[in-house]
Structure formats: structure tokens, C-alpha cells
């Protein structure tokens, strides 16, 4: 990163601004930092242009990534901000594409509604510390409860995002994060007494089951811990349970109707 990218601010000045922001969280300082890195935002957004989404939208999404990176960056760790910010911004853009793509092509209106619901659920959960109900989501988004229910259900019709999907951190995949509690897998296996069927699941899928059914976290809590959306957790859990069920019915020689 050269000084030109920082709108004539030197590296020392940038570092000083980050330290100030870390201590005081002053919006004015943040605005200066945002302005200093808008070239980076545009540059990364352009990488994803021509994939069916307007460049302006991608710049907005990338800007959100930049804001998150500025909030989370610790200047005392000796890492350059761009090293930290690029994966975060790219992750945000990828997440945007992930949330908008599916194997079952939903009508554009329904896709946009699903995206809005996702955003509203996350925002509500963060602000209120609990999961919203349908009427609260409807009020937040400004649509009817029926439309919310339809949107939530359409979420299940879309392809489950891969566990390899990158998270908001950009360079981490769900596999990296969910797979962090291997010591608990045996416990889950023992609890369920499902040795054969469980062994056919990916260890990360087993851990997802652990978080939900042994540790007792709600979908929203899991979403918060893994930094993904509640709707994404819902899809992953449903797919994992379906895999487990199929493995069980197969191993029990019980016919399964798909």
C-alpha cells in the first residue's frame, strides 16, 4: 500500500489515526480512515464486477467490509491494515454473492426479500440480544407477516451454502471455525449412540450438531458465534440432520423415500 492510496496521509499518520480510533472510537476519525481506503474498496469491488451484480452495490457491500475491518483492526499487532482489511472486505463481497445465489433460482423479488430478512434478523438480534419473531421482522422490513413467512421458507428452498464458504473474516471458512471443538465429538457420539451414522458425517457437521443439541445453543447464538446468518445456520442444520437421518436409515436397512 502506497501513500497515494491513503489520500496523502503517511503511514505514521495512518497508524496514529488507528490508535486514536481504537482508544476513542470517534466517528470523525473513522470517516477519515474510510476516506483513506476508499480506493481499496473500489479496487476490490471491481474484481467482482461482471458477475451479475451492479458495481455500485458491490462498492456498498465492500464499504461495509471496510467499516468492519476498521472497527476490528488492532494497530498494536504490527500487521498492516491492508493485510487485515483485504480478506475482510473480500469475505463480505463473497458473502453477499452467497446470500444472493442458489441452485433453485428464486424470483428476483423473493431473493431480495430473503436478503432483506437476513439483514433484518441479524440487526435485530444484535440490537436486542434475542431472536426476533415474525411480526418484529415484518415491522423492521416493512412488509406483511405473510411475506416474511414466505421469505423464510424460500430460504429453505435454496441450496445450502457449502461449509467451505468463507465467513465475514474472509480468509476463514466454516470448516475452520466449526471444526474447532473436536474433543467434544466423542461426547456427542456417545450421547446419541450413533457411532456408525455419525462417522459418516464430516467432523464439522458433527460439531454443528454438538453446538445445537449438546451445548444447547439456539440458531441465532450459533450464527453469532460463527459469524454467519441465522438463516444460514438453519439451512446447514437441516442438511446435516437430513444426512444423519439418511445414514441412519441406510445403516438400519430401513428404506428411505426421498
Amino acid at each position: 500500500m502506497t501513500n497515494q492510496h491513503h489520500n496523502s496521509l503517511s503511514r505514521e499518520e495512518i497508524n496514529s489515526l488507528f490508535r486514536t480510533y481504537k482508544d476513542n472510537k470517534e466517528p470523525e476519525v473513522k470517516n477519515v480512515l474510510v476516506g483513506a481506503y476508499m480506493d481499496l474498496v473500489h479496487s476490490l469491488a471491481r474484481r467482482f464486477a461482471n458477475r451479475g451484480e451492479p458495481l455500485d452495490d458491490l462498492v456498498q457491500v465492500a464499504s461495509m467490509g471496510l467499516l468492519k475491518a476498521i472497527d476490528r483492526f488492532d494497530p498494536d499487532r504490527g500487521v498492516q491494515f491492508t493485510t487485515y482489511a483485504v480478506p475482510t472486505i473480500v469475505g463480505e463481497i463473497r458473502r453477499y454473492f452467497r446470500d444472493r445465489s442458489s441452485a433453485i433460482r428464486l424470483p428476483r423479488g423473493l431473493r431480495e426479500r430473503s436478503f432483506m430478512l437476513n439483514t433484518a434478523i441479524q440487526k435485530f438480534s444484535q440490537e436486542n440480544g434475542r431472536t426476533p419473531n415474525v411480526s418484529e421482522i415484518a415491522a423492521a422490513v416493512g412488509i406483511s407477516e405473510e411475506d416474511v413467512i414466505e421469505g423464510l421458507e424460500s430460504n429453505e428452498a435454496t441450496t445450502v451454502a457449502s461449509l467451505d464458504t468463507t465467513t465475514e473474516e474472509g480468509d476463514l471458512s466454516l470448516l475452520d471455525i466449526v471444526g474447532g471443538e473436536d474433543q467434544t465429538l466423542k461426547m456427542l457420539d456417545e450421547r446419541l449412540s450413533l457411532a456408525g451414522a455419525m462417522s459418516t458425517l464430516d467432523s464439522r457437521e458433527q460439531n454443528l450438531l454438538y453446538l445445537r443439541f449438546i451445548e444447547g445453543l439456539s440458531q441465532t447464538e450459533i450464527a453469532d458465534r460463527l459469524d454467519i446468518s441465522q438463516m444460514h445456520v438453519s439451512r446447514l442444520l437441516r442438511r446435516t440432520l437430513q444426512s444423519l437421518r439418511q445414514n441412519l436409515t441406510t445403516s438400519s436397512r430401513e428404506p428411505y423415500i426421498s
Binding site: I149, L194, T220, L241, R245, L248, T249, E254, P255
Partner: protein, 125 residues
């Protein structure tokens, strides 16, 4: 108390209709979307248990929702396989999942055949 009943053909894709009904009914008493999804998870297990046994073919899946002020009771009627069969690995698995996602559950023998499974979800404070 309000009561809603729904009957769908025992087909996999029809479970989506039940999901829609469940989410709609759950929202009526203010259950959040996690709680609504919990009920759908439990119903999925019950339905697919019957689907896997083929015994449900030709019969409808009937679900009754009793809407109370403080809770939602969901009755899945005439399920073809008991979740209380301790010798069955599938049954144990499904009971485990249902136990985890319900605030309370119980299974009763239906006089006309099969098993009724009651799932209860309480409204949080």
C-alpha cells in the same frame, strides 16, 4: 384457545406446506423464528420417520395446533412408528432431536392406530 388443523399427503415436498403453517401459527403467539424452526425440525423428524417406514403412504399427515396464551401445542397424529422404541437406533435418534427442540413432548397410542406425538413450545418471557 384457538385450534388450527392441517392435513397433507405423506409426500416429502408437502412438509414444506407444514413448515409454512407452523411458522404462521407460531408467529401468532409471538414465538421467535428459532422456536418456530425448532417445531419444524421436530415435525420433520416425525414425518420422515413415517416416510422412511413406507407405512404412511396413502394416509395423510395430520397436525393440530392448539394455540394457548403461553404456549403452542402441536399434535402430530397417527404417526406410524413410535419414537419410544429403545431398540431402534433411528427411533432413539429422533427422540433425542425432538427432546432437544421441544420444551415438552409426549407420545400416546392413538385408538385408531399409530401414535400421536404432542410437542409443546412455551412462549419465552
Amino acid at each position: 384457545m384457538e385450534v388450527v388443523c392441517i392435513a397433507v399427503p405423506p409426500l416429502e415436498h408437502m412438509t414444506r406446506v407444514v413448515h409454512l403453517a407452523t411458522t404462521a401459527v407460531a408467529s401468532r403467539i409471538g414465538l421467535n423464528i428459532d422456536q418456530a424452526d425448532d417445531i419444524n425440525t421436530a415435525l420433520d423428524e416425525l414425518f420422515r420417520l413415517s416416510l422412511s417406514q413406507k407405512a404412511g403412504i396413502g394416509q395423510e399427515f395430520c397436525v393440530r395446533y392448539d394455540i394457548h396464551k403461553d404456549r403452542l401445542e402441536v399434535l402430530a397424529e397417527k404417526m406410524q412408528m413410535s419414537i419410544g422404541d429403545v431398540t431402534s437406533k433411528v427411533s432413539r435418534y429422533k427422540r433425542f432431536i425432538i427432546e432437544k427442540v421441544s420444551d415438552r413432548y409426549e407420545e400416546r397410542t392413538n385408538p385408531e392406530g399409530g401414535f400421536d406425538v404432542l410437542l409443546v413450545k412455551f412462549l419465552s418471557d
